[in-house]
């Protein structure tokens, strides 16, 4: 009789389960996380629609028309015009591009800084660790918003930049990115340090060292990929915080400088708008609110997908 052997290892027929594939699968099952991702994509699409809409309607973000201030919604201006007669819809779209871009780039810079400091402190330990962590603690103890305002108020020409550059829109953009990223890296540094400390003593790092690996190899090959998951979750939440920072700085007049729109500086004179054109005061803030909620929910979803207890 011919005995059919059972397949003893079901995994033998499945594709290899790389950790990232497992996480993707877990994330897909997280409903609010997926919803947040969808909302975020919608917001991004909305912001990217600026180019076709500008072309279609024949409007831009800077042309003022003092005869058409606070116009109600019309075919030419689907959301009406603002206090300088500019198209509100297009300004919301372009402003969103600026706000989201600041959020992403400043988070990336802060992540680089924080990761470098956290890995150095955690991997090398000892005196370097003590010095870096005291520095980090000192940074955490600072009142962030007043500090950001001071940094936002600095005169770039006194730092050696040319007056032309200091007045340009690019300077305004990069200034916000830089000041937020040099202030908001402490959380990342702490998370990366803690994760590095845990991994530093792992036997797989010892095995690499026995084979002659130097610190650089161990950090790039073993430490960074293994701190990636707590880092990504932390960075998602950072993006939300950075968007809030940018908006409040721009709102107070120390961030993105008009005429370049951002969701924050579109509310510059909102205290007047509240009585004359409430919609103009509500819409940019609502978009900030929705973006940050989406980003935070996405962070929750990623945390769930990366939870080591699920692996």
């Amino acid at each position: 009789m011919n005995v059919q052997l059972p397949i003893t290892r079901p995994s033998a027929v499945e594709a290899p389960q790389s950790p990232w594939r497992l996480r993707l699968r877990r994330f897909r099952r997280h409903r609010t996380g997926m919803a947040a991702l969808a909302l975020l994509l919608l917001i991004v699409l909305f912001c990217l629609a600026a180019w076709p809409v500008q072309w279609w309607l024949g409007v831009d973000t800077t042309t003022t028309d003092l005869l058409a201030r606070f116009d109600p919604p019309s075919a030419a201006h689907p959301l009406g015009t603002d206090d300088a007669g500019r198209d509100e819809l297009v300004r919301l779209m372009v402003g969103g591009q600026i706000s989201l871009l600041v959020g992403l780039i400043a988070t990336a810079f802060g992540a680089l800084l924080g990761t470098a400091i956290g890995v150095a402190a955690g991997y090398f330990g000892g005196r370097l660790d003590a010095v870096l962590m005291r520095f980090t603690d000192g940074m955490i103890a600072l009142p962030l918003l007043p500090l950001l305002i001071v940094l936002g108020a600095l005169d770039l020409t006194k730092l050696g930049f040319s007056p032309e550059f200091a007045r340009s829109g690019a300077a305004g953009f990069w200034r916000v990115v830089v000041i937020i990223s040099i202030v908001d890296w402490t959380g990342v540094a702490r998370i990366v340090r803690a994760a590095t400390l845990a991994i530093r003593e792992a036997d797989y790092i010892r095995a690499a060292r026995v084979s002659g690996a130097r610190a650089g190899y161990a950090i790039l090959t073993h430490v960074l990929p293994n701190v990636a998951s707590p880092l990504i979750v932390a960075l998602t939440l950072t993006v939300g915080r950075v968007i809030l920072f940018e908006s409040v700085l721009s709102f107070l007049g120390f961030g993105i400088v008009p005429p370049t729109p951002s969701w924050g500086n579109m509310l510059n004179n909102a205290q007047e708008l509240v009585t004359t054109a409430p919609m103009l005061a509500v819409l940019p803030g609502l978009l900030i609110f929705l973006s940050v909620i989406a980003v935070n929910l996405l962070g929750d979803g990623l945390r769930h997908a990366f939870d080591p207890r699920g692996e």
Binding site: P16, S18, Y204, R206, A207, R209, V210, S211, A213, E311
Partner: protein, 313 residues
């Protein structure tokens, strides 16, 4: 390796008077204490030989293994190695493999660090996986898809990649259950025969040691108390601590404990007792033991048995 010097084989590894001290605690105000994890230990390993290093947890055997592997610099003493490469197999097969790496990358890692060509890395990974008995589809999979025994096979394959002459095996079986452990033990022995490997085999399991070792070194509180050929040590232990260890070990067909089992706890290596460090627990203790530390030397009329006891058998 295998160089001949006036007919006598040169040792593959010579460990000479190694001490490892850790400073504990200490900060701005408190002066740290010194933990003497390993104290003045010397031994050698010949090509193809298995030296077992036994002792209770906290005896300093893992630290000594790290010193031999070059993972930790000794506070004093020298390690001379005549071969090309040393590798390590760790105790915990779950922590020894990077969970983010596929098995092929794990096995080939020593070659990648040595910047060998990618084609050689792939070829060797395939050969080694087959040698340690991994299923053919293992190479593209990730550590979490394997059982403990299979992971230990992966770790062994990685250790073999750079063709080492000596492998430090730090309790490689203690995280596995008995039947899996004995399979891995047989694998280690087969690999030794096939490649002429020498092992520094760290273990607390005397049954395993009896199965694999050529010579046995017994560590207590960081000090080498006995170093003897396996048969001599198991038949007639020279040091009272070794005897106590043997008596305490469970053996089939015999109830454990024959009266001279260990009394009390191992003292803290922060505050080792004066004289012979074993004296507070020793059944043969005399006045001299409390004052004079014994030196490691040949036991009476037993040239090959080294023992650190004033009353060595």
């Amino acid at each position: 390796m295998g160089r001949m010097l006036q007919g006598a084989p040169v040792s593959l590894l010579e460990v000479e008077r190694i001490s490892v001290h850790f400073s504990q605690g200490g900060g701005l105000f408190a002066k740290g204490r010194v933990l003497r994890a390993v104290e003045d230990v010397s031994f050698d390993i010949q090509p193809g030989e298995t030296l077992a290093l036994v002792g209770e947890s906290g005896s300093g055997k893992t630290t000594l293994g790290h010193v031999v592997a070059g993972l930790r610099a000794p506070t004093q003493g020298t390690v001379r190695y005549a071969g090309q490469a040393i590798q390590v197999v760790f105790q915990d097969p779950f922590g020894a493999l990077d969970p983010r790496m596929p098995v092929s990358a794990i096995i080939a890692e020593p070659l990648r660090i040595a910047r060998r060509p990618a084609a050689e890395q792939r070829r060797r990974a395939g050969e080694l996986a087959a040698q340690v008995g991994l299923p053919p589809d293992a190479l593209n999979r990730y550590p979490h898809e394997f059982s403990g025994g299979q992971r230990q096979r992966i770790a062994i394959a990685r250790a073999l990649a750079p063709a080492p002459e000596l492998v430090v095996a730090d309790e490689p079986l203690s995280a596995l259950d008995v039947s899996i452990g004995s399979q891995v033990l047989n694998l280690l022995r087969d690999l030794q025969r096939a490649h002429g490997l020498a092992y520094l085999f760290i273990s607390h399991d005397l049954a395993v040691v009896n199965h694999l070792a050529d010579r046995v070194a017994v560590l207590y509180l960081g000090r080498l108390v006995e170093l003897a050929p396996r048969a001599d040590l198991f038949a007639r232990p020279s040091h009272p601590y070794t005897r106590a260890l043997l008596d305490a070990a469970p053996r089939i067909g015999r109830r454990r404990g024959r009266g001279s089992a260990l009394r009390g706890e191992m003292p803290s290596p922060m505050a080792p007792p004066p004289g012979c460090v074993f004296h507070p627990r020793c059944p043969k203790v005399q006045a001299i033991c409390r004052v004079q530390p014994p030196l490691l030397g040949p036991a009476p009329n037993r040239r090959k048995v080294l023992s650190a006891c004033h009353f060595a058998e």
